[in-house]
Amino acid sequence: MNKTLLIFRHEFLHTIKRKGFSIMTLIVPVLALLGIGVFQLVSTISEPPVIEITTIGYVDEAGGFDQYTTQGNIELLRFNTPDDATAALINGDVSEYFVIPPDYMSTGVINRYTLEKQLETPPVIATVIKNFLTSNLLSEKVPPETVYRIEAPLKLVITRLTETGAVAPEQGGYGNVIIPAIFSLLLALSLMLSSTYLVQGLGEEKESRLIEILLSSVSVRQLLVGKVLGLGTAGLVQVVVWLVSLPLLLNLASSAFGGFIGTIQIPANFVILGIVYFILGYLLFAALSAGIGAISPNAREGQQLSMIYTMLVFFPLWFSSLLFIFPNSPIWVVLTIFPVTAPIAAMLRLGVSDIAVWELAVSIAVLGLSIIGILLLTIKVFRIYLLMYGKRPKFGEIIRSLRSG
C-alpha cells in the first residue's frame, strides 16, 4: 500500500477511535435535538402562566380619557390630581402612573412617574398607554372593530415564491436557521477539537522522537498529506453521520413534540455546501495545525499557538445576531471569503438568506488555495524545525527559513 495511504489509514482510525471524537459525532447532535425537545415538552406540560393584574394610575388633565380602562391584564385607575396619584404610588396601590397634560392634543407629551430606575419605558407599558390613548381618541368616532384593528393593524404572513411564481419549497423563518446554526456550532467545536488532535499528535511524535522513525520510512510530504487527509476523512464521517441522522431525528422529534420542531427544515443547498465546507474546513485546519505542530517545540506550546486560529472559527458565531439583520452586509461577505471564518460564516448565512454564486465560488476557491499553500509552506518549514525540541522559533526566523528554502 502507498505510504501516504498507510499514514492516512492510521491517522483516520486513530482519530475516530478517540473518545472525544465519538462523543462529538454520536452524542452531541442527539443532545442538541433532545434539548429542543425537552424545551418543547416543558413548555407544553407547564401550567399556563398566572396572569397578574397590574394597576396603573393616570391623571387626565386634558379631559375625555375615561373609557377602555382595561387593557389586557392591566387596569388603569383614574386619579383627580397628581398628588393623589403620587400618594397611591407610594402606598403601593398602583405600580406607576402617568399624567395626560392639558396641552396633550397639541404636544403629544405624556408624563410617566415610577419608583423604579429604568432605561426606558418597558414596551408592554408603552403599548398599553398607546392603546388606551388611541381607543379613547377614536371612541364614538369609529366602530369598536375599527379601533381594535387600528391597535393591531397587521399579522405578517410571509410566503416565498420561486422565479416562476410558484410557492418555493424552501421557506424562510427561524425554522430554517436552526439546522445551519446547530451545524455551524458543531463544526466550530469539531474543527477546534481536530486541530487539538493534530497539534497534540505531532507534538507527541516530536517529543518522543517517534518522528525520526517515521521519517526514516516516509518523506515529510507523505507524512503530512497522510495526516491531513486522515483527519479530513474523519471529519467527513462525522458530517455524514450528522446529515443522515439529523432529518431522522427531526422527524422523530417533530412527531413526538410537534410545535416549533415541526417548522425546522434543512435548506436545500445546505447538504451539498455543508459537506463541501466541512471537508474544506477540516483540511484547512489540519494544514494549519500541521504547520503549528511543525514549529512548536512540544504539544503544550503547539496547543497554545493553535488557539489563535481556532478562536477565529467562533468569530462568525459571536456576531450571528447581526447576521439576522444584515445577512448580506460587506462584513459577512468578507467573513464568507476569509478562509478561517468561511466554513462557519457560509453555513450560518445559508440558513438566513441566499448567498450569491460568485461569493460561494470565490470562498471555496480561496479555501482550496489556502489549503494547498499552507500545506506547501508547512512541508517546507517542517524539516527545518523538526529537530528543534526545546525552543519555539521567532516569526522572523520562520520567514528567513522560508526565504532560504
Binding site: 500500500m1 505510504k3 498507510l6 499514514i7 492510521h10 486513530h14 507527541e204 511524535e205 517529543e207 518522543s208 522522537r209 517517534l210 525520526e212 522513525i213 517515521l214 521519517l215 526514516s216 520510512s217 516516509v218 518523506s219 507523505q222 524539516r383 523538526l386 529537530l387
Partner: protein, 297 residues
Amino acid sequence: MPAAEVNHIFKSYADKAVVSDLSFSVARGEIFGLIGPNGAGKTTTIRMMMDIIKPDSGDVTILDEKLSEASKNKLGYLPEERGLYRKLTVIDSIVYLASLKGMDRKSATEKANELLNQTSMLPDKRKKIEELSRGMGQIIQFLVTIIHDPELVILDEPFSGLDPVNTELVKRMFVDLRNQGKAVILSTHRMNEVEELCDRILMINNGRTVLYGNLAEIKSRHRSSSVILDFEGELGEVPGVIDKRTHKGGVELVLDGNTTPQQILERLVSTGIVINRFEVATPSLNEIFLKEVGKKT
C-alpha cells in the same frame, strides 16, 4: 560496493560547526562503530545519513544510491531517544511501523510474532506500549528496527536503558545481523561495547575524525611496550625493564624500546618466580581516544 559511503560532509548550526569534513564507508557484513563522547556529532552524522537533515555540503550514498523512498525500506534505524505510540498495542505498533517499511500486514504480523517469541515477549503483544517497562519498550523498538530484514541497520546508542540481560540479547542480535551479511552501524559513547562488537570504527570528536579503520589494527598501532605480570616470589631487576607500576591485578613492566615481551617472559622464567599471569598490555579504546584527543589539542 559498501553499504554506506559518506563523503566530506559538513554541518553547522548558527555558524557553529557540528560536523566537519567527515568521510567513511561501511561494508556489508560488518559492525561499524561510530564512536565519540557526547556532543561529538554522532547523531547529527546519522541524521544526515538518514536524510532527516541535509548536510551543508558533501554527499551520502546508501546502498549504492542517494537515499530514496525505495532505499528507506532497506534501512533500519533506531534513534537515540525512543518513542512509540503509547496508546497502541505492541503488535499494532510493530505492524504499523513495519508496513511503513514496505511490508504487507500479513507478513509483518507473522514476523512480529516470530520476533516477539524469540524475545519472550509474545504474551505481551496485546499490551499497550504505555504498559511496558522501559527496557521492554526498548526491545520493541529494536524489533521495529529489524523486522523488515534491512540491509543496513543504524543504531544510535542502542544499549542505553537496557538491563544486562537485554543488553546481551541485543548484542547477540547484532552479531546475527552481521553473520547474515548485513551492515550494522553502531553509534555509542560506550567504548567497551564497541571493543566487544565492532570490526571497524570511526572515532570522532567535535565533529572531526580522530581515528578511522580496523579496530584490531588501531589497537595494534596503539599497543604500548609494557606487560602485565601477576606472580609469586621476589622480583629483582629485569634487564630490558625501565619501569615498574603496581596495579590492582599485578605489576605493569614498562619495556625499553629494544626488548620484546617474548624476551622478557624468558628472562622472568629464568629468575625462578612463579608466574600466574603474563599479558601483553593493550590500551582500551577509551585510553586510545584520550591519547589521540590529547595529541590534537
